[in-house]
């Protein structure tokens, strides 16, 4: 191809995520108040989280355990010696005017997380490792309500609710290894899957248990240096993360191409207008002046403690995905859907352990059971009356030819709602498949005799009529006739009678 114009510059984005994840503890990180979401304002406060003079914070041991487990699950090195630091800044959501965080000796560093990018069109999945720079423990701040609304603009005063102040968080910082909005959204989802698998966080984005800040710059493909970095906040869904990044990539490329300077700043994602907006934060007003927190002693995780916690880790989503594909022969899609939720994955595994072939178990769970759970959103898979053993039994009945697939679907609603033995139910419902060749042959003869016109059409070359005859046999038997056998006998009769 020849062209007079020079090739258009190709850009790539360099993206890193900072994720704050609330730990599912009963009490706050340094004080014994409740962490429950949605309580009336300022009911979960105490002198420690409010920074009263003379109080002494003490670390919640569950916070340390959860942070270390998250670090291990993210393939991090756990620090043999770690400490807390004070990060100073003034903002009314921070009662002490400093946040207790970790600065230079975080509990975990140098890890990675594997994301899987699934391509719907091809059905194939590619995997990519994203580096984890660090993971540290810190306390959350309170919540500001601006003049009766959540909006900053136009309010003359703010109201503060400190229920969230002192709630334990882990902050997870990724390496700038992400390149697209899809990768970033996938990274955030995988992170949520991991913390949910571990049971260390509910990962609920709507309630703020999982909050992602994005650092993003663009550069021409092939360059080594980074462009000017912009931070984006305020995305409250995975979809918003992806769209905010896609918007920001376009905005930055356009700025570069039109010679506009990209400013290092924080921008907010505005869901209603689907764009990012500059926050215009005053320069030089923040200087955190970290120093070691004098009220808290350092942390030393012994190798015994570390191995105990390591042994308690469940099989992780990426490990399950890999195993389902390589050992159980499932498609990338099935592996992905089944492992999205730990309870679903465990239900699947129990079904397979009870003797069901993996592919069939996967089909029933990802299709019929998932549809039922979607329609009954208050139910979790563990609430189903149909146990994994029952599902395996039902699949076994199909495999053995005792019932047809359609017969199994007929009894499924009853099994889902009332449970019980599938074998007994199909007997009681008269759904046992008709597999007697002579009986089926006789039924076919009856059907052919009753439909001479259709038979004539078939003989005239309308081979699709075979389906009609099968349908008639099914009608006569209430769907009990073995469809495979029916087809075989029918085909034989139709050709031999010609």
């Amino acid at each position: 191809m020849t062209t007079a114009t020079p090739a258009k510059t190709q850009y790539e984005a360099v993206i890193g995520l900072e994720t704050h994840c609330q730990l599912s503890t009963e009490t706050k990180i340094f004080s014994p108040s409740s962490t429950a979401f949605g309580a009336p304002p300022n009911t979960h406060i105490d002198p420690i989280c409010m920074g009263m003079p003379g109080v002494l914070p003490v670390l919640n041991q569950k916070v340390l355990e959860y942070a270390v487990k998250a670090g291990l699950a993210l393939n991090c090195q756990i620090a043999p010696y770690s400490k807390f630091d004070r990060k100073q800044y003034f903002y009314p959501d921070l009662p002490k005017n400093y946040q207790i965080s970790q600065y230079d000796l975080p509990i975990a560093e140098h890890g990675w997380l594997e994301i899987e990018l699934y391509d719907k069109a091809s059905g194939s999945a590619t995997r990519k490792r994203i580096g984890i720079t660090r993971l540290h423990m810190e306390e959350d701040a309170g919540k500001l309500v601006h003049g009766g609304s959540d909006r900053l603009a136009g309010s003359s005063y703010s109201l503060v609710d400190y229920n969230r102040a002192g709630v334990p968080l882990i902050e997870i910082v990724s390496e700038p290894d992400l390149r697209t909005g899809q990768e970033a959204a996938e990274y955030a989802q995988e992170l949520r899957r991991i913390v949910r698998y571990l049971g260390v966080s509910d990962g609920n984005m709507q309630e703020g248990s999982l909050r992602c800040d994005v650092n993003i710059s663009v550069r021409p493909v092939g360059t080594e240096t980074f462009g000017t970095k912009v931070e984006i906040k305020n995305m409250n869904s995975f979809n918003a993360i992806q769209r905010a990044i896609e918007y920001e990539i376009d905005r930055q490329i356009e700025a570069i191409e039109t010679g506009e300077k990209i400013v290092q700043e924080t921008r907010l994602w505005d869901e209603s207008s689907q764009r990012t907006i500059s926050m215009r934060v005053k320069e030089g007003s923040s200087d955190y002046r970290y120093f070691p927190e004098p009220d808290l002693g350092p942390i030393q995780v012994s190798s015994e403690q570390l191995s105990t916690w390591k042994a308690e880790l469940p099989e992780l989503p990426y490990q399950k995905r890999e195993r389902y594909e390589s050992e159980l022969g499932l498609s990338a899609y099935d592996a992905r859907v089944l492992t999205d939720d730990r309870a679903k994955a465990e239900y699947f595994e129990a079904t397979v352990a009870a003797g069901a072939p993996a592919k069939q178990a996967a089909n029933w769970i990802t299709q019929d059971l998932s549809a039922y759970l979607n329609a009954n959103s208050e139910l979790a898979i563990t609430d189903l009356k149909l146990t994994p053993a029952n599902l395996a039994e039902l699949i076994g009945l199909i495999e053995a030819g005792t019932i047809s697939n359609a017969g199994a679907k007929t009894v499924l609603p009853k099994l889902l709602e009332s449970g019980g033995s599938p074998t007994k139910l199909v007997e009681a419902e008269g759904l046992i498949q008709l597999s007697d060749a002579d009986a089926i042959g006789a039924l076919i003869d009856e059907v052919l005799a009753a439909h001479p016109k259709e038979l004539e059409q078939f003989r005239a070359g309308k081979t699709k009529m075979q389906g009609f005859f099968v349908g008639q046999v099914m009608k006569k038997t209430n769907g009990r006739a073995d469809p495979k056998l029916t087809n075989q006998i029918l085909a034989h009769k139709l050709t031999s009678a010609e």
Partner: protein, 95 residues
């Protein structure tokens, strides 16, 4: 040595409004304090490991158990301003 400019920066970070005369006073006083600490430099610390604390305690933790600590009303009353169950603070947006 600390100069007037640094004192002004620290004052800004601490949200303190200082008079010119106060800046001079604090510059002198802070330099005096730093001077006392300078004396520590006379000791030979070549073989001493850096530390952030004098007492060697590690892993002080508590159980994840709820304890009712104090009267919420008492804490709310301690605030300069409140609005019902909320603490009330001046407008905080940067223009």
């Amino acid at each position: 040595m600390i100069d007037r400019e640094q004192v002004q920066k620290v004052a800004l970070l601490a949200r303190l409004a200082l008079e010119d005369a106060e800046i001079d006073t604090f510059t002198t006083q802070l330099n005096d304090i730093l001077g006392y600490f300078e004396q520590l430099g006379e000791l030979d610390t070549t073989d001493v490991e850096p530390t952030t604390r004098a007492i060697e305690v590690v892993n002080i933790t508590r159980h994840d158990q709820r304890v009712s600590m104090s009267d919420r009303e008492e804490i709310l009353q301690g605030a300069p301003d409140r609005d019902g169950d909320f603490f009330k603070v001046p407008k905080i947006i940067n223009e």
